[in-house]
Subunit: 462 residues, 2 copies
């Protein structure tokens, strides 16, 4: 066969796209621990698990829903179709460069208008806010992927969007701000004079660099202060993972029906965990049911912020200021500030409770990789497959390559599925630093974590 | 029907992709004028129309080939399949915002790894250079789209790539340089100390801002000076348009077979013209043959560089220094320096000879639009369809919207096909300036053009 006859891109017809999100909760062998109210320290009722009035009602109901399949609203499906389905690629050129018998597939979310998987939930969250009559959304952003996606979703629904962007990133990444503004959003450096907490911090330190925890607090305060405003979040919580299952549902259909295979190993990067869980929840259920016992699912995190591999499983706040619900998860402590690696999306002290629960139950595994090795993998990927990937994604590419090289040693032709979360067009400064040998690796910050873990909230037994 | 059942993305299966490029030359009712040698001023022989040793032999042969269908090499097809076919989108949300009965379709080339249509020819040119045993490619780039694409193609074939980038752009757009370097290319500001002409200009003016004409001269000199090196060009000449016909061939198949329609109007932007000609050559042949007499094809250019609408049809050099072949085309004069609009890819004094010829014969039309109106269109597109487009593409979006609004007046449900050449992720500074009201329009520079047209080469009658 000529190489031009080898198929390298597999894509569903739009009529075969998922019409429902997949909710893993009813299929878990043990129930997920509830959320705990940050003030009362009591478990939230399962029909209203997120403290009102932060989120739209529909979102609150999805958080602990027992429905296995939740219908994707008509208008959300319609907007998904401006960029979905995304393609499943066979990385044949990378396979050849590695001289591996492994088959490497990757589902590429970088073709969304915002360049990542984030719009899958941004569009849904904007839809519910609009439907319930709200006019504004407030959110935080670190590296800018999430703020960009919500800005785009706001534009499509005619909602005003206010993004509190960590000041350091705001100054370092002006293109991210311009993206948001082109979609019509307002983006301010956090801490900002627009909130009480922001004013207080600026009074203490006029050029305060900010942090994700502070930005979350500002966005929450904004939503509390305005009756027409809801808060949006881009990862960690159950409803975000739910919306992201479109990735895995599309992939499962296309890899089995068009590529005639089923993965032996699924690899993805995890910060809050929504992108990768969105990929693997529709697959892990086969392992839970016992039909795919040998399936390996590898959550990849940075060695500088190794939440699953080094954290403890405990009750902790989702944010630094303690405004968000307390969740049972692997955590490095909500006051832990990770090193300044370029994969900003992976700098989070906690992890999606669903992922932590599945890890505790033995259905998924985790691995930590150092920064320089991830960029080496990203450059190899760019020079074989062409795509310049986000620094976050490079973590998953590193492990994908390592697993493919193991196949070369063993001679086994495993099918490896990579969850490719997005492009790196706005992260090129990090590639520049890498190519100029100006990046460094960070060891596991054992002392800082020990200090942070001394500040976990005390939750009474219930 | 629910809106979610409306199809908005149409995409070929990879097995239905074109296996041959379409060559319009045998289908032209009058032959294209030959190229003229820049030194001898004599017409080049049709079997060796580009002065050797600039290009690989296979490229020279394609330039005036009489074969209607030219096979795409197996390896080039295989690489196309890392991102092709690209999707044909129905811009339903834009249609609704405009309240027009028109059906707006756009073929989106922004999902290529380099973000535009440019890799369609870059991959082919790199393939032929590699096949003929060369080790290096030299080229120029202005805004950076072309240099990026050739850098990627070089990486995929293991070729060294040297890009001479106009110094002003090199300083303004560092991300473009980093992109090229991530793919392994070497990118230097032009004029550079690496060539004789560069040294001479730097001696006169150490911080010389450069121009596309100078960068072309440096790249040509580089190719002349190194036996292992060929020169690559990203637009204008026949073989580049030939390679770009994959866009139109895919579109024609998918719009007729999946969307069950045929365009009434095709709109695209033209700088050198390769992207848009690549779209419409497979369609214009139907007009030449008389089966689609009413088809309108609109070449859109900027009012500040209105080559077709205001230029004269004459023999002129393709570059400023007079190293490239002399061609018969619409031109504003090879010494004309256009205003600094942000659509850098449209700042060219001439136009692809095939496009000029088709315009002279009455098969295609042209329109010029001012900068501010193009950004207004681009922002409207971003806030309805989500995509942030290249400033060049915004020119075509402007005319697409205007034609759709005419349909609203007349009540006619025309099918408008937009050639969308790429995203604007590396052009956000221009959106920032637009949103801050810092952009301006430029009038037609009549005096500057008059001056430039006084310097056309004299070509003896033959």
């Amino acid at each position: 066969m000529n190489i031009s006859e080898e198929k390298t891109m597999f894509i569903l017809d739009q009529k075969d796209m998922p019409t429902h999100w997949y909710n893993i909760l009813p299929d878990l062998p043990e129930p997920l621990p509830p959320l705990v109210h940050p003030v009362t320290k009591q478990p939230c009722p399962l029909d209203m698990p997120l403290p009102p009035p932060l989120f739209p009602d529909a979102i609150n109901k999805q958080e602990f829903s027992r429905e296995r399949w939740i219908e994707i609203p008509d208008e959300v499906q319609s907007i998904y179709k401006t960029w979905r389905p995304t393609a499943l690629h066979r990385a044949r050129r990378l396979e050849k460069a590695l001289d591996t018998p492994a088959k490497i597939f990757f589902k590429y979310e970088g073709t969304s208008q915002a360049g990542s998987h984030k719009p899958n939930t941004a569009v849904a969250q904007a839809y519910y806010a609009k439907k319930e009559g709200f006019k504004r959304l407030a959110t935080e952003t670190g590296a800018g992927q999430w703020g960009s996606a919500l800005s785009m979703a706001g534009a499509l629904f005619g909602l005003e969007v206010k993004v509190y962007m960590v000041r350091v990133s705001y100054n370092q990444k002006p293109y991210r701000r311009i993206l948001m503004e082109t979609w019509g959003a307002k983006c301010v450096p956090s801490p900002s004079p627009d909130t009480e907490i922001g004013k207080k911090l600026l009074a203490e330190l006029p050029n305060h660099p900010g942090s994700l925890g502070i930005a979350i607090s500002e966005a929450c305060e904004d939503a509390f202060a305005h009756d027409d405003t809801k808060y949006s979040i881009g990862s960690v919580v159950n409803h975000v993972l739910l919306h992201q299952t479109v990735i895995g549902l599309e992939t499962k259909k296309v890899i089995t029906e068009q590529a005639d295979t089923y993965p032996d190993i699924i690899v993805g990067c995890v910060g809050g965990g929504s992108n990768f869980a969105g990929m693997y929840l529709p697959f892990v259920v086969d392992k839970i049911k016992g039909t795919k016992k040998d399936l390996r699912i590898i959550n990849v995190e940075p060695t500088s912020c190794p939440t699953i591999t080094k954290g403890i499983y405990a009750w902790d706040y989702g944010d630094v200021a303690g405004l968000a619900p307390i969740v049972m998860m692997y955590t490095l402590g909500h006051t832990f500030i990770p090193s300044s690696i370029h994969a900003g999306g992976l700098r989070y002290h906690g992890m999606a409770p669903i992922i932590c629960h599945l890890h505790r139950l033995g259905f998924v595994e985790a691995m930590a990789v150092p920064q320089l090795a991830t960029f080496a993998a990203g450059v190899q990927f760019a020079r074989t497959e062409g795509i310049i990937s986000a620094p976050e994604t490079n973590h998953a590419i590193r492990v994908t390559i390592d697993e493919a090289l193991k196949c070369k040693e063993t001679g086994k032709a495993k099918t490896i599925l990579l969850a490719h979360s997005g492009h790196g067009h706005f992260d090129l400064a990090s590639y520049d630093a890498y190519l100029a040998n100006k990046l460094e690796d960070y060891d596991y910050p054992a002392e800082k974590v020990k200090e942070a873990l001394a500040h976990l909230p005390e939750v009474p037994k219930f």
